[in-house]
Symmetry: C2
Subunit: 176 residues, 2 copies
DNA sequence: GCTAGATGCTAGCTAGGCTAGATACATTTC
DNA sequence: GAAATGTATCTAGCCTAGCTAGCATCTAGC
């Protein structure tokens, strides 16, 4: 149930058969990378007992800390694209688990300064850093020319799949 | 809040500064691809008014149909890694929306044959096919040698980031 | 100094997961 | 071939993490 199950949905006219196989290899490699990234993210979340939103919130808080920016619930809500109420609940969760603290905002007495606790900061920073380092090193092993090929391909594919005007996105839900 | 926010967490010793910039470009391109893929998936789901699980279920059903395999609730539960009870609810949703039908299983009277309705099948197939075709064509524009470079890089990075014994994981949503 | 707008909180709702247990059928064992 | 065990699905009821609506507090523009 896993080997290029969508393959038969594509019009391959004009592409040589041996290229089709080669392209499928590339697609599979891309799929593997995606799947592995997903697995890693899930494993981390399980380990830290956090859901995806909470994880993104911590990431945001780290970046704010690194940049000496005061993080507020409102800023988090905007960044995470969730409601103010959900943000309150999320901060309750994170605070209860000892990942963040709520402190008075230095200049706005309506707002709060949300701060990641040192332990969580360190642990997350380490994990993020290690993952980032691995990607970095994989990219560093390429020559400049090879990297150029990869960059061009990634950008080309991104441009290719990006939504267009003539797109009627997947489905009209008409039954039967 | 978006330009390589994790960059300062990486040990770049032994990498020339101009390579660091080049590698960051690659990471950014990879991040863009990921982000675009995510946006597209979300747009499709909004359009179809389905959640991610339901979408994956339809995809599974299409593959089953193409392969002339009878899909059952149990098979779906296993594939989606959700409980039998959740699968029942999901099938209720999909049935109510006219995306699937529950029919008697041809050989096992305990089980059901879950079938995607023709309209949904056609629409989804079209959408999936179009997306797949775009990726395919981006890959088709590469020469064999270029594809080899990309494939090797993707595999190398996958291997590099894959979980190891000495891992105490933490999430990294990635560049971008 | 009043008022419109911003900020975060509470109350109460919903979607979509989960476990436990019921029911119907299939398969194995004696 | 009857009993025991296993498999497939459904129902009931719970939990998490979203949501909207409405409130109290504070800021800032006039």
């Amino acid at each position: 149930m896993a080997n290029d199950p969508d393959g038969d949905l594509v019009d391959r006219s004009g592409v040589a058969p041996e290229d089709v196989a080669h392209i499928s290899e590339l697609m599979a490699a891309l799929g593997e990378l995606r799947a592995t990234e997903k697995r890693i993210a899930e494993a981390s979340r399980r380990y830290m007992q956090l859901n995806e939103t909470d994880m993104m919130a911590l990431h945001y808080l780290i970046v704010c800390t690194n940049r000496d920016v005061v993080a507020t619930p409102g800023g988090l809500a905007k960044h995470l694209d969730i409601s103010s109420a959900s943000t309150t609940k999320m901060l309750d969760r994170l605070e209860r688990a000892g990942h963040v603290t709520r402190e008075p905002h230095p200049t706005d007495r309506r707002a709060l300064a949300v701060r990641i606790t040192p332990g969580t900061h360190l642990a997350a920073r380490e994990g993020i850093g290690r993952q980032h380092a691995r990607r970095f090193h994989a990219a560093a092993r390429l020559s400049r020319r090879e990297r150029d090929v990869v960059i061009r391909f990634l950008r080309d594919m991104t441009r290719e799949i990006a939504p267009r005007e003539d797109d009627r996105p997947v489905d009209d839900p008409g039954p039967g």
